[in-house]
Symmetry: C2
Subunit: 473 residues, 2 copies
């Protein structure tokens, strides 16, 4: 790593500039789930294209088709940004994936600052997308640009795939990648994704597993339209009573999932795996305090990590159609949709899980004995992913982290899903590495999302060091 | 009723004019629950003041104070419109109450037409407020004006009290009425309120009872902010699981309320009362079809009417803080507020009900064994009301209806609440009559609210005939 010290120094010197670059990115409210923001999403893609082109990247914007909205209208999908930087046949080729869209955010949801203005406070950069995923994506630009400006050769060809529908189920991406299997995707030797987080706040990690997710809806209706509870209460079977009855059957207080056959699908814990949990640096009490919970649902570090990473969980998200505002509305909701999801792990195949769950819900409904109309269905699903943390590609990432942070990273899994990870692995036929930049308390998807200045700047160094390491493979 | 035929003929002749007057009223979006609409609410009060002044009414607009909003800011309450028409000491004095504000409405909620444009279709006038309560309120203007224009003496003095916060809990009204006990409210011999509906669609009725309502919140929190179900699922006790567990304990499938001591408070059914239910014209199958229900929760007409009118019911309204939008959000809500209300009947005193319910919720929570934070509280409550349907004042109303419709009205109760009814009875010390104008399928508070042209026009005649009847008391 002869070039690393020069590179690291140069990154430190450009800190302010890099923060300004992230500020520009955060200022574009590229919320993919809100049709009214679609033009901002496209603007964000254009912004990123310019960044990549300045590096010398050949870019292509590809619109994968149209999105059909809830009301039946259609809308162009935002373009996927493909880029090629270097086509040296003597070099190996890295594919970098990231996403340019963000979750919705509004100050009144409980943000302390305007979500689309990057605000630096106490060494933290607050703003929607700061850590998920604009910080890491901009980090790649920072790292490559710094290598170039300091005349350090980038030792691999880099392909970029930056999408802008990740927060909306990556609509259109998977088909596009599969269709480009023998063109753009050909010759990719390894893929790197920086779209997850450290386990804690102080020690870096490399991620080799993700849970999948299966999302379900239970639709119950009793009337043509909402009813006044004074005028109609006492004469109808209320869908709200049905839906809470159904939702209440799904889990026990301790989180145990009451769906026959589901837990039996879970792969047993191996000895090697157990040792990773034991070795992982993780402070339960700090985790509890960060969340603000009175008590966690697991007693030991190992159980807690397994609860997050390698065991299924069922979360009840809410009820569409029910009264959800502030104040007191005396409505009998006519039609409600109870929503929950199950995080799936090896060896729970989504198709099998779907079958078990829908059958279970239909049986439960029968035992409820309500005359109301009922329909249970899967909303979407994404498989789990598990890689080999001993792969040489992972060792490149690990050495890069050691170079920057001076410690060996932990090997972690994530409880969340990045479904496209599986697609990259399948389409390239090669190893995929998750190299997190942000910290465990960054609150992606939540109010007051942030990235630490240190994670952003040192993360930029990790990405550069990782590129240098790849040259040795 | 020597003057009635002339009056009725004159009303028929002015039908178009009266529909135009209602159109003007509906066009003012006087939504009292939306602070941004406050100016429209005030505009509606001003509009009504002009209508009353044209009749010769001495009007006063009284602002009862300020409203404190959720975010702590304050806003002037819309004025209460007080009016005095006639001060003849030889005549008795009628107090007419109505409200000028409406429930929220938006086309995208499922309206077939613009809610604030009166649309006539198939003999129905669609529009927010058409039946609740602008139609009846404008009906008073139509009736009095027609008497005046035809030189028929109005045989009573009339006082008006039209408020514009009814849909927001009549904030400020009760205190104002009590403060005016010895001034404006003095000398009122009877009060008439037209703010409810016929039981069915074809036969008029007079209403002598109302249920009260006690509204409750259960606040459960586990975390400082919403959590990503992938990253945190499996490590926390989820408030959604707690709240559906709690909500599910409150009722059985058949609607039975599982709160100790509550059902014991309900007054037994008397023989005379039972005969009213038996005599009431009510088609269960038509009611079921109007609602669009697969099956009603009661088997006989009598049980159904008692279920609506004279037995308590518990409705689950929704969960604040839970995900309620369309689509799929994988959130673990950090803090949820489960909301439900109980419709109360004689002899359930709100204070006693509150005590029972809160104690019950606290005990239930203990038995749940969740470590999360819990708080149960009453949001608001209003007492039930029961009058004497044999009172001479009721017979005036009944005769007016018979004159217009040719049938004896049914004597009904209502399942909903009009809390101010109790206040008028207490403050004036005299009888209060509920004289409904709209039909049972008018869908107040719901999408596609309407009033039938026939109810609006014949209702105007009923109000006039009732005034003429009062002259004989």
């Amino acid at each position: 790593m002869e070039h690393y010290p020069k590179f690291a120094k140069a990154v430190d010197a450009r800190k302010k500039e890099f923060i300004e670059r992230l500020r520009e990115a955060v200022a574009i409210p590229s919320v993919s789930t809100e049709p009214a923001r679609r033009k901002d999403v496209v603007r964000m893609v254009e912004w990123m294209r310019k960044q990549l082109e300045k590096l010398g990247t050949k870019c292509e914007l590809y619109v994968a088709g149209k999105q059909t909205l809830h009301d039946g209208t259609t809308l162009d999908l935002p373009p996927i940004l493909f880029g090629v930087l270097g086509e040296d046949k003597k070099k190996k080729t890295l594919l970098v994936y990231g996403h340019l869209d963000v979750q919705p955010a509004a100050k009144e949801d409980g943000w302390n600052t305007e979500p689309f203005e990057l605000v630096e406070k106490d060494g933290k950069l607050f703003g929607r997308g700061s850590t998920d995923d604009k910080g890491p994506v901009v980090g790649w630009v920072n790292a490559i640009e710094t290598l170039q400006k300091n005349n350090i050769e980038v030792p691999v060809n880099i392909k970029f795939c930056f999408e802008a529908m990740e927060e909306s189920g990556s609509e259109g991406l998977e088909e596009t990648l599969r269709a480009r299997k023998d063109t753009f995707m050909k010759g990719v030797d390894f893929t790197c994704i920086s779209d997850n987080y450290w386990l804690g706040k102080t020690k870096p990690c490399i991620t080799y597993g993700l849970r999948g997710v299966c999302y379900y809806c239970m639709e119950i209706s009793a009337a043509k339209q909402d009813l006044h509870s004074g005028c109609f209460g006492g004469t109808v079977y209320e869908p709200m009573a049905d839906v809470v009855w159904m939702m209440n059957q799904l889990t026990n207080l301790d989180g145990h999932i009451n769906i026959k056959g589901l837990n039996e699908m879970v792969a047993p814990v191996t000895e090697e795996e157990r040792k990773l949990y034991e070795a992982t640096d993780f402070d339960m009490e700090e985790y509890r305090k960060d969340i603000g919970a009175v008590k966690l649902s697991k007693k030991t570090k190992e159980d807690l990590l397994m609860g997050r990473w390698r065991n299924p969980t069922l979360s009840l998200h809410g009820i569409e159609g029910a009264f959800s505002g502030a104040g007191a509305k005396t409505v009998i909701p006519a039609k409600v949709i109870g929503k929950f999801s199950i995080r799936i792990v090896p060896n729970m195949h989504p198709d099998k899980v779907d079958k078990l769950v829908i059958e279970h819900l239909n049986e439960l409904w029968k035992s409820r004995g309500s005359p109301n109309r009922f329909k249970a269905y899967s909303s979407h699903s994404g498989n789990y992913w598990l890689s080999d943390f001993k792969h040489p590609h992972y060792q490149c990432g690990a050495r890069a982290m050691k170079t920057v942070y001076g410690v060996e990273p932990d090997y972690t899994r994530e409880g969340g899903s990045i479904p496209i990870t599986l697609t990259f692995e399948e389409v390239t036929g090669n190893n995929v590495l998750l190299l997190p930049v942000g910290a465990g308390d960054d609150m992606a998807h939540s109010q007051n999302e942030k990235i630490n200045v240190s994670n952003y700047i040192e993360g930029t160094k990790v990405l550069g060091a990782y590129l240098l390491e790849l040259g040795k493979m």
